[in-house]
């Protein structure tokens, strides 16, 4: 009985550890996927826009960095959630 209980507890701890690792991996990984797609779209559109209207270059560049940082931040939201899952919860 006791050994069975100890085994169960050991297994649950292992499972919890696995779940935390999965949380970190999914948070960081899927966050990176989304932000990667978004940043790709932003820079692609910027190239398109500048080739169409080179005279708007300065304005487009400042908007581009704003969009880049806002999109990149989404990756960090995922990462922070993953880190929370792995180390704090």
């Amino acid at each position: 009985m006791l050994t069975a209980l100890i085994t169960v507890f050991a297994v649950t701890e292992e499972v919890a550890k696995a779940g935390k690792s999965i949380g970190l991996g999914v948070g960081g990984g899927l966050g990176a996927v989304g932000a990667g797609v978004g940043i790709g779209i932003i820079f692609g559109k910027v190239i398109e826009a500048i080739t169409r209207q080179p005279e708007m270059r300065d304005e487009i560049t400042s908007i581009q960095w704003l969009g880049f940082a806002l999109t990149e931040a989404c990756f960090f939201y995922g990462l922070v959630a993953g880190l929370l899952a792995a180390f704090i919860v």
Binding site: F68, L70, E72, A73, F76
Partner: protein, 322 residues
């Protein structure tokens, strides 16, 4: 071979391409790149040969301790630790450099003054002026400019190795000094959170002053939404207004923290953690590249984003509708 070298030369140094014969110069660049790659890969292989491929996992080293705050001076609520020191340094640097440069403005600017003037124009015209009307921009420009410069300095001194790590100590010539480490005040959630709170309170107050409390809450609902839908939209907009506090602080905090973590891991922590020597050598170029990326782009970009979003929120709070 020579044609290929010439194209590399044309790409690498377009200014010098015409005058010098392409073959020799391109060849030397190519050789340099190959030598660098050779040293890198050769060092990796040599380290694998010497120390073995797999190491033993180091249980003692905990990377999160790099961000742990040890209290140095106990003063109750006003205790001093690493983050407080970085805050004080950043605040002092911001005010001292800016006041010094403003005091000795000259008709014919030197290089530093030109750079500061460019930053000033960026803050005044594109950050504050581009997102608010004239009167608002004039009133809030000092606040936004201070935020921008403070966050910029705070991020940048975070990439200077300072003797702050009291956990591991160095013994040099009989003296015990804390080992050098990277840390930034903005890599700690509380500082961006306080900055975001100041911004949050000020734009909400500005909105309430412009439209009255009821009018401000009503203005959260976009034009043209009526009936029961308006209540639902109001709740959504209200929550998204609250979320600005979170997103503003976490964006800055997580960017700087993740940057520091990546530099830390690439520049050696991974090798120490996994106990394999070749990994440290292998990831070092990545670490240097990331360091350049963080110093050159992320530090300034995050300060710019924080200031721009502050201006956008302030402008949006008083705008007639959105």
């Amino acid at each position: 071979m020579s044609a290929h070298a010439a194209t590399i030369d044309a790409g690498g140094a377009p200014a010098a391409g015409g005058a010098t014969p392409g073959g020799s110069k391109g060849g030397s660049l190519r050789t340099k790149v190959l030598i660098g790659l050779g040293i890198w890969l050769g060092g990796t292989i040599a380290l694998i040969a010497i120390a073995g491929f797999s190491g033993t996992r180091n249980k003692e080293f905990e990377p999160q301790n790099e961000f742990k705050l040890d209290t140095w001076v106990h003063l109750g609520v006003f205790s001093i630790n690493k983050a407080v020191m970085y805050l004080v340094i950043a605040a002092t640097l911001t005010s001292v450099t800016m006041i010094y440069i403003a005091r000795r403005m000259q008709q014919r600017p030197n290089r530093v003054q030109t750079a500061v003037e460019i930053v000033y124009r960026l803050m005044r015209d594109s950050i504050a002026g581009g997102n608010m009307d004239q009167r608002m921009a004039a009133r809030w420009f000092p606040f936004i400019g201070t935020l921008f410069l403070f966050i910029l300095f705070s991020n940048l001194i975070g990439y200077l190795p300072l003797p702050t790590n009291t956990e591991h100590e160095l013994h040099v010539a009989g003296l015990t000094i804390p080992s050098f480490s990277l840390y930034a005040a903005t890599a700690n959630l509380s500082i961006p959170l306080v900055l975001a709170l100041v911004v949050f309170v000020s734009y909400n107050l500005e909105g309430i002053r412009a439209k009255g409390a009821i009018g401000y809450l009503k203005s959260l609902i976009p034009n043209g939404v009526h009936g029961p839908m308006a209540g639902f939209i109001f709740v959504l907009e209200f929550i998204s207004n609250m979320m600005r506090l979170l997103s503003l602080s976490i964006r800055l905090f997580a960017n700087i923290l993740a940057g520091h973590l990546l530099i830390l891991f690439m520049a050696g922590a991974l090798a120490v953690l996994l106990g394999s020597a070749w990994l440290g050598w292998f990831t070092l170029p990545l670490g240097i590249a990331l360091f350049g990326f963080e110093v050159g782009l992320v530090a300034a970009l995050q300060a710019f984003i924080f200031a721009t979003l502050t201006a956008i929120y302030l402008g949006g709070a008083v705008a007639e509708s959105h």
